[in-house]
């Protein structure tokens, strides 16, 4: 199996293996995956399941030990430069400069994304407005609340209107209002054509947002499909959280 060149496929991974030096077992163990263009794909799994490793490989941050992956048909290792022009990342960390204002941060990332100089200010304002931070644009990020930081983090990821956006737990540790705003905006971005790869531990978010999910454990995909279809397969599970616990077990993952 080789990564797909199909125009409908945003992302494909074939037999991906990642072994970290001195690790007892692989972080990814022959993981294969295909994600349709225009979908909101939920990537679920307990801590240490391999979600962040998978996203890092797909974002060109990490090289796989074996296997291959492609974004819109471009190999993430051999054509990393081209892949980077099509993707956006909203990492789990607040990947912003805390001593700069939200506007200064976004301006900088816009230049690095090579947006035309004349468009930068308008684009920065639009992204800040999208996440509800336009009136706070000139405050330093360090002075933001947790929710504001998460929203600014999202704004930096969508500045260049990527075709594929990776979101690594973008709503962790924030209040219901900020979470609601982020989920609404993500749905809008998807409606505008952006493919989203979404990882989270909040199952209700996945149920609300994602049309396709994969549950990953020990570096392998153990369940795959639409949330409703997966629930239908397990009669005993009332919701996605119960299904998740049935599939991955109740033992702690530290």
């Amino acid at each position: 199996m080789t990564p797909s060149m199909d125009n409908d496929i945003a992302l494909s991974a074939v037999d991906l293996v990642k072994v970290y030096p001195s690790a007892a077992r692989p972080a990814l163990d022959k993981l294969s995956l295909r994600v349709k263009r225009g979908s909101i794909f939920g990537l679920l799994g307990p801590n240490g399941a391999g979600k962040t490793t998978l996203i890092s490989i797909l974002c060109t941050l990490l090289r796989p030990t074996a296997g291959s992956a492609a974004v819109f048909g471009q190999d993430v290792v051999r054509q990393a430069g081209s892949v980077r022009q099509t993707i956006g990342l909203v990492p789990q960390d607040i990947a912003l400069y805390p001593t700069l204002t939200a506007r200064e941060n976004l301006r900088y990332f816009a230049r690095i994304q090579r947006l035309p100089g004349r468009d930068i200010e308008a684009r920065v304002d639009k992204c800040l407005a999208t996440v509800g931070l336009l009136d706070q644009a000139d405050r330093r990020v360090a002075s933001f609340s947790g929710g504001m930081k998460r929203r600014a983090n999202l704004a930096a990821g969508i500045l260049h209107q990527p075709e594929l956006l990776f979101l690594d737990e973008p709503t962790v540790g924030i209040d219901a209002q900020s979470r609601n705003l982020i989920l609404d905006r993500l749905a809008e971005l998807n409606q505008a054509g952006m493919t989203l790869i979404y990882t989270t531990h909040y199952m209700e978010e996945v149920q609300q947002l994602c049309d396709d999910i994969a549950i990953v454990d020990s570096g392998k995909v153990i369940a795959r499909g639409a949330p409703r279809a997966l629930l239908a397969e397990q009669d005993t599970c009332q919701n996605l959280e119960e299904l998740f616990l049935v599939l991955t077990g109740k033992q702690l993952r530290d």
């Binding site: 941050l61 022009q85 990342l89 990947a95 912003l96 200064e104 900088y108 230049r111 990821g157």
Partner: protein, 439 residues
């Protein structure tokens, strides 16, 4: 455009970091100010200016005055006889040394002249009569500050002994001049017996004591320094470039810190998923900090040129090759930034970078002659100093400031500094590339 964006971002970040700015600008300025002032006396004591010493002359004859004249004639000592318009007593002299105001004091005893002349006469008389003599040895009191270093103390002692020797020779010559005719007459009369000398006037030559003070050999002093130290710098010429370089290399800490913070905060991961080259990211940092280093350099020169002279030190002479000076400053700044980038990619935490960065810079500074000039280091350390980039920079600056160096004469140092930068940047790019590939 990417490079400019990176430079602008780095400068913005730095402008928001007050502690970082303090380290970069205030610390080197304080170092230059304090160390130039503290070491000014030391540099003077090393032979640039006369050493000031308290001189108490209790002698009632001329020997004390002669001795003082002998010492002052060497040009190495400036004798201080009064304090606040009052003659200094022996006790006060001791107190002045004890309080650290002077490194040493001399007290010439009351009957110094008389004792010296009596001893000289008895020694000469005994010699002429082929008798043994054991003249009274007069004592000259010297108070030393116990903190005075051994070399300095022995240099002063040697100068005093030379002065005393000259004084003794003069007194012995005078005694010889006086006693020789007398002894000749006495000997001749004794040898001719009671008859031979009768009626014969015995004329013996009179000796003038001036011959004793005329030197037969003149000491021709020439400093045999290594080729690169034919002349020595003033405290300002040594300290301003030395501590400026130290401050410039301390840029390692904030520069490495930005890379580590970007790694820890996740911004570097975000940047690495963007279409930007490693070279552009690293050169953006280098360029911004290069600018900071050059501003630092300009400020330090201004301190040496305008502020330090107000506090009594010599003015910083900048030599006559401004282009060479700028080139050396630029290459030293490049070397410092290259090293900062290398530390930033190799260190795993800010603590690691700040500890390793500061310790390695202090070691390189010590080896390169920033703390103690290379020319006073032991030979082994002088040999090691050639491995210090701070030493290359300092030698180049001193060449321009002290020895009227030109662009041509500092080109070797400039090349070494630029090469050091390129090697550091090359290593950093290799490590950075490995990060980006996730190896």
């Amino acid at each position: 455009m990417l490079l400019l964006a990176n430079i602008k971002k780095e400068l913005l970040l730095l402008s928001r970091d007050r502690a970082g700015l303090l380290v970069l600008f205030v610390m080197p300025m304080l170092l230059v100010l304090v160390l130039s002032l503290v070491q000014d006396d030391l540099f003077r004591a090393s032979g640039q200016a006369a050493t000031r010493a308290v001189f108490v002359n209790l002698d009632q004859g001329s020997a004390g005055v002669d001795f003082a004249a002998q010492l002052e004639a060497t040009g190495a000592l400036e004798l201080v006889r009064e304090d606040s318009g009052q003659k200094i007593s022996a006790d006060q002299a001791r107190q002045l040394v004890l309080s650290g105001n002077y490194q040493f004091a001399l007290v010439v005893p009351k009957d110094f002249s008389h004792a010296l002349e009596t001893s000289a006469e008895s020694t000469v008389r005994a010699a002429l009569r082929e008798q043994s003599s054991d003249p009274h040895t007069e004592r000259l009191l010297v108070y030393f500050d116990p903190a005075v270093r051994g070399v300095y103390r022995s240099a002063v002692t040697t100068a005093l002994q030379q002065g005393l020797l000259a004084l003794e020779i003069k007194r012995k010559s005078a005694a010889l001049g006086r006693l020789l005719p007398e002894e000749l007459q006495r000997t001749i009369k004794k040898q001719l017996g009671p008859y031979g000398a009768q009626g014969i006037p015995i004329k013996v030559p009179q000796l003038d004591s001036a011959w004793a003070s005329k030197p037969l050999v003149k000491l021709d002093e020439e400093s045999v320094f290594a080729d690169k130290y034919p002349t020595l710098p003033t405290s300002v010429q040594q300290n301003v470039p030395a501590w400026t370089l130290f401050g410039m290399f301390f840029i390692v800490i904030p520069l490495a810190g930005t890379l580590i913070r970007e790694r820890q905060e996740g911004t570097l991961a975000r940047l690495m998923t963007m279409p930007v080259s490693n070279r552009s990211l690293l050169l953006g940092k280098v360029s911004a900090y290069l600018l900071i280093c050059l501003v630092q350099f300009g400020l330090m020169l201004a301190v040496g040129k305008f502020i330090l002279p107000l506090l009594g030190t010599p003015v910083l002479e900048l030599g006559s090759a401004p282009l060479a000076l700028l080139l050396v400053a630029f290459s030293a700044a490049l070397a410092a930034c290259g090293y900062g980038i290398l530390v930033g990619v190799l260190a795993r935490s800010y603590d690691q970078a700040s500890t390793f960065g500061s310790v390695s810079v202090v070691i390189a500074a010590a080896m390169g002659g920033v703390m103690v000039p290379v020319y006073v280091m032991p030979r082994a350390m002088q040999a090691l100093s050639v491995f210090s980039p701070l030493g290359w920079g300092l030698d180049a600056f001193l060449d321009i400031f002290v020895r009227n160096g030109t662009l041509q004469s500092v080109l070797g140092y400039v090349a070494a500094l630029v090469l050091f930068f390129l090697v550091c940047l090359g290593f950093a790019l290799v490590v950075f590339q490995r990060w980006r590939r996730g190896i």
